[in-house]
């Protein structure tokens, strides 16, 4: 397959592992998408055949599933049950077939060593960081994962990252694991404690208020930051113009761009955060 090609695969569900009553990981047989995907890209999944719901749902590609010889066999999706589509994906059964369209969207820009990469994840916002970890650790980039959740038991896959040499900084709102409070607290401390001349790039995905807070702190510290946005999407291909987000314009105003084709990854400094928070 040519790079940049988009395919629709009728993918067998290879497995569905519930992590909790809300979270699960679904593994899908989609070798063509797995081979072409770059870190941070997404797929549009038809979570059930028929008209309910009518549209596909966008999901970050979580892991690339490989065979013993490293051949890409499929992808996994980290899902949180919220609405109809995510509920259907939560209930997917081994042997079901789901339409998976991708890979779609702009990937994470990849920094090079000695720049350090700080990944900042909130909840299901962990999803785009597994592929980023593989790509950056292969280049020898030192990695830290700032990972926040409501409770300690919601910090899924922390060990997956630790096993790959990622430094973990955890925070929970109930204080049951890591720092008591939001993940921005240890992030602020790390920004303060890191010498200005030490190059650091920040990658962030989570709820919009969290991403806005991270973007503001990164900007204040003079650090480059990228965020991966999650918007309601109709098609994922740039056809419908429903997933727009406001970016800053040179005249101090803002302009709507499609998060499916211009994003989902954006340089945090290019976004008009007030508008995004209001309509996100």
């Amino acid at each position: 397959m040519l790079p940049g090609m988009i395919v629709d695969v009728q993918a067998d569900v290879l497995g569905n592992r519930a992590l909790s009553a809300e979270y699960n990981v679904v593994t899908l047989a989609a070798p063509a998408i797995a081979a072409a995907a770059r870190p941070g890209q997404f797929v549009m999944v038809k979570t059930k055949p028929g008209l309910e719901p009518l549209l596909r749902r966008p999901f970050s590609i979580f892991e690339i599933v490989r065979g013993a010889d490293g051949t890409p066999l499929g992808i996994s999706i980290l899902n949180k049950r919220i609405g109809i589509g995510t509920g259907q994906l939560f209930d997917a059964r081994e042997g079901d077939r789901l339409g998976v369209l991708g890979p779609l969207g702009q990937p994470w820009p990849l920094v090079e060593a000695p720049t350090r990469a700080w990944m900042v994840a909130g909840g299901v916002g962990l999803a785009p960081f597994a592929t980023l970890t593989e790509a950056l650790s292969a280049q020898g980039v030192p990695l830290t994962l700032f990972y926040g959740a409501r409770r300690g038991e919601d910090l899924y896959y922390a060990e997956w990252f630790a096993e790959r040499g990622v430094d973990l900084v955890l925070a929970t709102e109930d204080g049951s694991r890591g720092t008591h409070g939001r993940i921005t607290l240890p992030l602020e401390a790390a920004l303060r404690d890191t010498a200005a001349e030490a190059p650091v790039a920040i990658y962030c995905c989570g709820p919009t208020p969290m991403m806005q807070a991270v973007a503001e702190r990164a900007a204040a510290a003079g650090r480059e930051a990228w965020v991966s946005l999650e918007q309601v999407m109709g098609c994922g291909m740039g056809g419908c113009y429903s997933c727009v987000v406001p970016v800053k314009t040179a005249d101090g105003g803002s302009h709507f761009v499609r998060s499916c084709t211009n994003g989902p990854v954006f340089a945090a400094s290019t976004l008009q955060w007030e508008g995004l928070a209001h309509h996100g």
């Binding site: 629709d8 309910e52 009518l54 549209l55 309601v232 419908c240 727009v244 309509h279």
Partner: protein, 317 residues
């Protein structure tokens, strides 16, 4: 081999499937997935003279068997389109029909003049039916004199084929088809979306920032088929039918009702590869029914002679 050639007034399309305006960006968005030259035509997103921002999100919401949209005709304007998109569409071999919008009658004329000066535009679809903008558009499409005036003004300004896109948000769509035909339209397309609304009962707020939006998808299909049938009885010019088409049977239903060609919109969101599936299924249908030329089916609905089609319940006096 089935002949899919689709005569459409001055145009001849390779097949009857068009990508519907507003559902396919400017066409080039799909070049990594599809061979655009395989589509009957690509109808690009509506264009005004200048760029437009559109409405604040959320712009879409799903409803049973359908969806509401209030995009608000965000777009790059005709000048950027002819510079930045049209050359690529030509290179990709797309048959490009441009959806033209206007706040005023003059704007429709000016946009069409710009398009007439550039190679690569096969035809114009006049958007007099978008339910999501405050000024222009549907104001023309909801008034018989307005429809007549826009079509005849554009008729004088361009030699390109013109196809007004009619709104279903009127009492008697066939009278608008006649107004368009009398004003010199080469074809008509219908239907645009149905003005609609959805409310979140927990927050008591409308689900769309714009409050109202246009309903599309399979939910509207039987109404659109009925309107296509009514227009077929009213005019001689070709009809491009649309409204919830999601498979080959739906295409055939519109053609039997009187559509010469069809547009697929919402279903393309869920399946951007729908085009090849529908073409294969159309071919299988024709083979099964011994049809050598698909166009022979147009208007072929078999209505028992004794039972005349019932008159619409509501007609303007």
């Amino acid at each position: 081999m089935v002949d899919f050639t689709t005569p459409l007034g001055p145009l001849t399309l390779a097949n009857p499937l068009m990508a519907a305006s507003g559902c396919f960006g400017y066409g080039v968005e799909y070049k990594d997935a599809l061979d655009l030259s395989q589509l009957g035509a690509v109808v690009v997103k509506g264009l005004f003279m200048t760029e437009r921002e559109g409405h604040a999100p959320p712009r879409i919401v799903e409803t049973p068997g359908g969806m509401l949209n209030a995009i608000g005709l965000q777009g790059i304007g005709v000048h950027r389109f002819v510079k930045e998109r049209l050359p690529e569409l030509r290179a990709l071999g797309a048959t490009t029909i441009v959806n033209v919008c206007g706040v005023t009658l003059d704007e429709y004329v000016e946009v069409c003049k710009v398009l007439s000066d550039h190679e690569g535009v096969a035809g114009i679809e006049l958007n007099i039916s978008c339910p999501n903008i405050k000024e222009g558009g549907i104001q023309f499409g909801c008034s018989l004199p307005g429809t007549h005036d826009v079509v005849s003004a554009v008729r004088k300004a361009t030699n390109l084929p013109i196809m007004p896109k009619l709104t279903p948000n009127v009492t008697d769509v066939a009278s608008f088809a006649r107004a368009a035909e009398e004003a010199g339209a080469d074809a008509i397309s219908l239907v645009n979306t149905f003005l609609a609304m959805a409310i979140d009962v927990e927050t008591r707020k409308p689900k769309l920032t714009n409050v109202m939006g246009g309903l599309s998808g399979p939910a509207i299909r039987p109404i659109a088929v009925r309107m296509t049938y009514e227009c077929r009885q009213a005019v001689k010019i070709p009809i491009v039918g649309m409204g919830g088409i999601a498979n080959a049977a739906d295409v055939l239903e519109f053609m039997l009702a009187g559509a010469n060609a069809v547009q697929i919109g919402t279903a393309n969101f869920a399946d951007p590869f729908i085009w090849s599936t529908v073409m294969a299924d159309l071919e299988a249908y024709c083979t099964r029914h011994g049809i050598t030329r698909l166009a022979d089916l147009v208007g072929g609905v078999d209505i028992p002679k004794k039972k005349a089609a019932p008159a619409p319940a509501c007609r303007p006096s």
